[in-house]
């Protein structure tokens, strides 16, 4: 089996290397073939592993492939932990990646950076698989940073576009903040456990009980809380939770396929996956769980609201992604890890679908992304229209679609939670159902229905996208619709993940819910009696009324509520705050340090001073180095005598 695991990660890497390093020797077709083939192999093998581990119920694999180094008894290793959690993640990652590879062939057809793009996304697949398959913190961190790096490269893929450069810099900087916390968390783990291996850390997790640590200011913190919050700060950066979410909407500057792959389906969910993986640690600290839940709920509701005022089709989906990531985080905070991961999986499919469909629309519209200039696309692009509709229905949680099962179990789980802050979280997630339905169908109606607002030239060229684009749409639409139905029983309410996820009995909200669970059909029927269903329905109706029936109302609303509208356009001022406070403060601090530290201390005293000292020293040594034999011999004798004088006398 180990060979298979190795093959799964190395196949995309090989593809990336071939397409990237030997790009000059390969033509375009060869570049997309090697990379797609590599990812295809790892997708097939991932499915095989999924069958082996999940369906045949084989024991999970935990083994080391290579010991990188041993330092002070700490092993730095490359190893795989393949249990049901990672098997599922592997399938999601490699499948979505494969779809995106195929889609890219059509989407990037005329781009000069074609081979570079394929090399990047294959490399990303490698890094992401390393991340999810890791059995230790070091490899996790490696994957974590590698996906961050590739995300940075891909957001700035069109490096001649100024906004893209700004966006990738922003993504990089914000992720630094998160990664700093993450690294501190890993360091704390190493300090308290003396090992980086998951299995050893988790089996000894209980040693953290009642341990406290004094942090600056003399306050004593529970170590478990500290570690969990530090790790979660990493997750906040990667999974774009408030207030570290600001980079994700801007990341839409990158090409659409990577928005689908990296910024919707896989990389941004790394934080969710990581917290689920660390469940044995998070279970130790209710404070940390509450923190997670409140952050998640805030993200879910308020980022969804921002989606209402965006006009750029990709940005709407980006805010929707933020909101859905908030849902997953809430689930983690409520100890419903399984539900969070379940939502991660369904979301990966339908959100990738929505992004790719948006990309399909964008191609047809000649790279026009403003929804106000679209409309009535339904009859021009039937496949894109239908798959988008499926995706939207899944997103808002229509009973029967995959999003329904996962989202509903999260809402129910939060309702059951008894942690402090759970009431706030419950209200937030329920309200956000309405918001989700509203922005999703606002987008849907604006794009596919209503008046055709594009110019004549564009309209004349409107046609359905080629097969390489529509095929992945169909490929993703199928799981978006059905996968929830098949997995809700085992994943959310059953024991699908087995030992991979650990929940204390007193926190186990999903177990409580599972008593009331009587199969997916019953769940659908029951949902008609619940608030979320009616909220979603009213969201759809409202969207229909505002954007199809009475299109003048939104403008009136904007004028009447211009204050609120502007706050939302300003994204609650996060960006402005960061710019003024962090960026501005950083500049002021930098200037002071530059003037005092650099110019005066370093340049004048240290650099010039040390250069002078070095010059003097070298000059002196050069004078000693006369080139005469007897000088050298004499130096040796002097050295000998000095040593004798010191050590013998």
């Amino acid at each position: 089996m180990q060979t298979i695991y190795l093959l799964i990660v190395l196949a995309p890497l090989l593809g990336a290397v071939l397409a990237g390093v030997f790009g000059r020797q390969l033509d375009r077709t060869a570049a997309h073939w090697v990379t797609s083939l590599g990812v295809g192999i790892s997708c097939l093998l991932s499915l095989y592993v999924f069958k082996h581990i999940v369906i045949d119920g084989a024991a999970s694999f935990n083994g080391t492939v290579y010991t990188w180094m041993i330092s002070d008894g700490v092993h730095f290793e490359i190893g795989f932990l393949i249990d049901k959690l990672s098997a599922m993640m592997m399938v999601v990652v490699s499948f979505v990646s494969l779809m995106v590879h195929i889609y890219t062939i059509g989407y990037m057809r005329d781009d000069p950076g074609y081979k570079r793009f394929f090399s990047y996304i294959s490399l990303f697949t490698f890094a992401m698989l390393m991340l999810v398959m890791s059995n230790n913190f070091m490899q996790l961190f490696f994957g974590w940073e590698a996906v961050g790096l590739i995300s940075y490269l891909l957001i700035g893929f069109w490096y001649k576009k100024e906004t893209a450069i700004y966006a990738n810099l922003k993504a990089f900087l914000v992720n630094r903040v998160g990664d700093f916390g993450f690294l501190l968390g890993i360091a704390a783990v190493l300090m308290y456990f003396g090992t980086l291996d998951y299995a050893q850390v988790f089996s000894n997790a209980s040693i953290l009980n009642d341990q406290t640590i004094d942090i600056i200011g003399g306050q004593s913190w529970s170590v478990a809380t500290l570690i969990c919050i530090l790790l979660f700060i990493g997750a906040m950066g990667k999974s774009a939770q408030v207030p570290l979410h600001v980079w994700l909407p801007d990341s839409m500057e990158g090409p659409t396929p990577i928005s689908a792959l990296i910024h919707a389906a896989t990389m941004v969910t790394a934080g969710i996956f990581m917290v689920a993986r660390m469940s044995p640690l998070f279970e130790l600290s209710e404070t940390a769980l509450t923190f997670v839940m409140v952050i998640g709920a805030t993200t879910a509701l308020f980022m969804g609201l921002l989606g209402l005022v965006q006009n750029d089709i990709k940005r709407v989906i980006a805010y929707s992604t933020l909101s859905q990531l908030g849902y997953m985080t809430v689930a983690l905070g409520a100890s419903a890890y399984a539900a969070g991961i379940f939502h991660l999986m369904t979301h990966a499919f339908f959100k990738a679908l929505l992004f790719l469909a948006a990309g399909s629309v964008i191609i047809a519209m000649h790279h026009e992304q403003d929804m106000r200039k679209m409309g009535g696309l339904r009859k021009y692009m039937p496949i894109t229209w239908f798959t988008s509709l499926m995706g939207s229905l899944a997103l808002i949680g229509t009973p029967g679609f995959s999003g329904f099962f996962s989202k509903d179990s999260i809402i129910e789980a939060v309702g059951q939670s008894s942690l402090p802050g759970s009431t706030y979280a419950y209200v937030a997630v329920v309200l956000s159902v309405f918001v989700t339905a509203l922005y999703t169908f606002r987008m849907y109606f604006l794009v596919f229905h209503g008046k055709e607002r594009m110019d004549e030239h564009t309209r004349a060229h409107l046609r359905e996208s080629p097969l390489v684009v529509t095929l992945p749409l169909i490929g993703l639409a199928i799981p978006s619709v059905v996968i929830g139905y098949f997995f809700v029983g085992s994943m959310a309410f059953g024991h699908f993940f087995g030992d991979a996820i650990f929940v204390l009995p007193q926190h186990d909200v999903l177990a409580k819910l599972s008593h009331e669970y009587h199969g997916p059909g019953a769940m659908m029927l029951h949902s008609i009696l619940t608030l979320p269903f009616w909220l979603a329905l009213s969201g759809v109706v409202t969207a229909w009324y505002l954007y199809i029936k009475r299109t003048d109302i939104p403008e009136t609303l904007c004028r009447r509520w211009s204050f609120v509208y502007h706050i939302m356009l300003d994204k609650f001022g996060f960006d402005r705050f960061n710019e003024i406070f962090f960026a501005g403060g950083g500049r002021v601090l930098g200037k002071i340090l530059w003037k005092v530290g650099d110019v005066f201390l370093i340049d004048m005293l240290v650099v010039n001073g040390s250069a002078y000292t070095m010059g003097w020293f070298s000059g002196m040594m050069r004078r000693i180095q006369t080139g005469y034999l007897y000088t050298y011999a004499f130096a040796m004798i002097i050295g000998l005598m000095a040593l004798l004088a010191i050590f013998v006398l």
């Binding site: 180094m69 041993i70 070095m614 070298s618 130096a635 040796m636 050295g639 000998l640 040593l643 004798l644």
Partner: protein, 478 residues
């Protein structure tokens, strides 16, 4: 008298090299100048065969023979293989260079093999006598090699300096050995180790200082380093390459045998000496290198600073300390081979590429070799993830582990100063305009070998585990 027949099979690699060298001596006599490459191929063949013999002839456990004069253990295996490899690379690099300068003679390869025999003897020595004889064999070969280019006044001057100073150093070493022998009454290293506790302290310390002065000279540690820049610069680059690479492994072996096997009980005394030597070497080597304009001279000072780092691991006196120094020695040799190899790569007939300015704009002339040089320079500077970083890290770790944090800080400070002159070369290669637009000309084996060499620095840097484990294993059995 009772005489035990020595186990000749144990010393098979040495015997084989000697036999092949003598055979080569005869063959070379009958070769015409245009067939001289046969000598070259024969030498390479010898090296490959002896490597095979060494690997398969080793039983896996420590064995002593020849009345305590010879030892085969894990350390000797790894170091010998390192030496073979280094000499192999030297031979390949040297071919074109020597041919261009009309000194492509059998003697270079012959003396190279005899010098290697000396190193092997040192590596496997288990008595003061064999250590000394091995060292003399090596030194004598090297003196002659430096002087080989007789038409060059610089080379003759360098050889003369090297010879006279080397003789003084050998005298001191021998004097120190005689003191140790006088105090303990034995030449055998394990005998010395067991006698050291009861022997006269002053006399032992006295002998120890002389001994270490001799070793410090061979290693090029300050203040016994002054020959080194002159000899490196004056000798033909092919010979500099030889002197600057494999003998460092032998010098490490000399220290490890003397201090680790023989005088480990005097650790308190020699630690202080080594600290002084190490700090001075790191300081002088790194600082003076900045002022150099000749790359060979700069690398000579860099060698001095690396010698300082090499001593850091040894001076801890622990097994892991010795193994970290061993890792350092092997890593350094790999980098030095590449560094001097690059000089030979860019030099042509009638042109020595040994000025820093000769590397200007190399990236424009040949991006691939500029990249190789970049790897080598970064590695020497100790930038992760290259090999040099792990080498520095492992010795510094050992120093910290033995509680001398100040010393580790000193090491780090000087290695940061050292980064300056390595990066300057990279700056010259990538940001300056080339002085000439000529294509690099050299044979395929040279190109292949130097690329492999630099990529090894990168590759082992990414996966240092195997080499580290080999070094650790070398000291776990003793």
């Amino acid at each position: 008298m009772n005489f035990e027949m020595p186990n000749f099979l144990l010393a098979l690699p040495e015997i084989f090299v000697l036999g092949m060298a003598c055979l080569l001596l005869l063959i070379d006599l009958f070769l015409k100048d245009q067939d001289r490459h046969l000598t070259y191929l024969f030498s390479l063949f010898t090296l490959v065969l002896v490597a095979v013999l060494t690997v398969y002839g080793y039983s896996g456990e420590r064995q002593i023979s020849f009345n305590g004069a010879y030892v085969a253990d894990g350390m000797s295996q790894v170091l010998k293989l390192g030496v073979y490899f280094a000499v192999f690379v030297v031979f390949v690099y040297a071919k074109d260079y020597l041919r261009d300068r009309g000194i492509f003679k059998g003697e270079f390869y012959l003396l190279g093999l005899f010098g290697m025999l000396g190193m092997m003897i040192m590596i496997s020595a288990h008595s003061l006598l064999t250590l000394y004889l091995g060292l003399e064999l090596l030194s004598l070969s090297m003196y002659a090699m430096v002087a080989m280019q007789r038409d060059s006044a610089r080379a003759s001057e360098a050889a003369m300096k090297y010879f006279v100073l080397g003789a003084i150093a050998s005298g001191m070493l021998l004097y120190g050995m005689s003191m140790i022998y006088g105090a303990t009454g034995t030449l055998d290293l394990s005998g010395i180790a067991s006698q050291a506790a009861t022997a006269d302290k002053t006399l032992m310390a006295f002998g120890l200082v002389f001994l270490l002065v001799g070793v410090a000279f061979k290693l090029g540690a300050v203040p016994f380093h002054m020959w080194l820049p002159d000899v490196y610069e004056g000798a033909p680059t092919a010979v500099t390459l030889y002197i600057g690479s494999a003998p460092k492994i032998a010098a490490f072996a000399l220290l490890a045998r003397l201090l680790g096997d023989g005088l480990i009980n005097l650790h308190d005394q020699w630690q202080g000496i080594l600290i002084i030597l190490a700090v001075l070497s790191m300081a002088v080597g790194n600082i003076v290198a900045i002022a150099q304009t000749n790359l060979k001279r700069m690398l000579a000072y860099s060698t001095i600073s690396h010698a300082g780092f090499l001593l850091l691991g040894i001076l801890t006196g622990t097994r892991s300390g010795f193994s970290s120094s061993m890792f350092y020695a092997l890593s350094y040799v790999l980098m030095a081979l590449g560094g001097f190899g690059m000089i030979m790569l860019i030099s042509r007939k009638g042109f020595e590429g040994d000025k820093l300015d000769d590397f200007k704009g190399l990236n424009k002339r040949s991006p691939w070799y500029a990249f190789m040089m970049l790897i080598l320079m970064f590695s020497m500077a100790g930038v992760p993830p290259f090999l040099g970083f792990w080498a520095k890290l492992s010795v510094l770790e050992e120093v910290v582990a033995s509680g001398m944090i100040w010393l580790a800080v000193v090491g780090v400070v000087f290695s940061i100063i050292g980064v300056f002159y390595y990066l300057r070369i990279i700056k010259l290669m990538y940001f300056d305009e080339p002085a000439s637009e000529e294509e690099l000309e050299c044979s395929a084996d040279m190109r292949l070998m130097i690329s492999a060499n630099a990529l090894m620095v990168l590759g082992i840097g990414l996966f240092p585990g195997a080499l580290m484990a080999a070094c650790a294993a070398a000291f776990s059995t003793t």
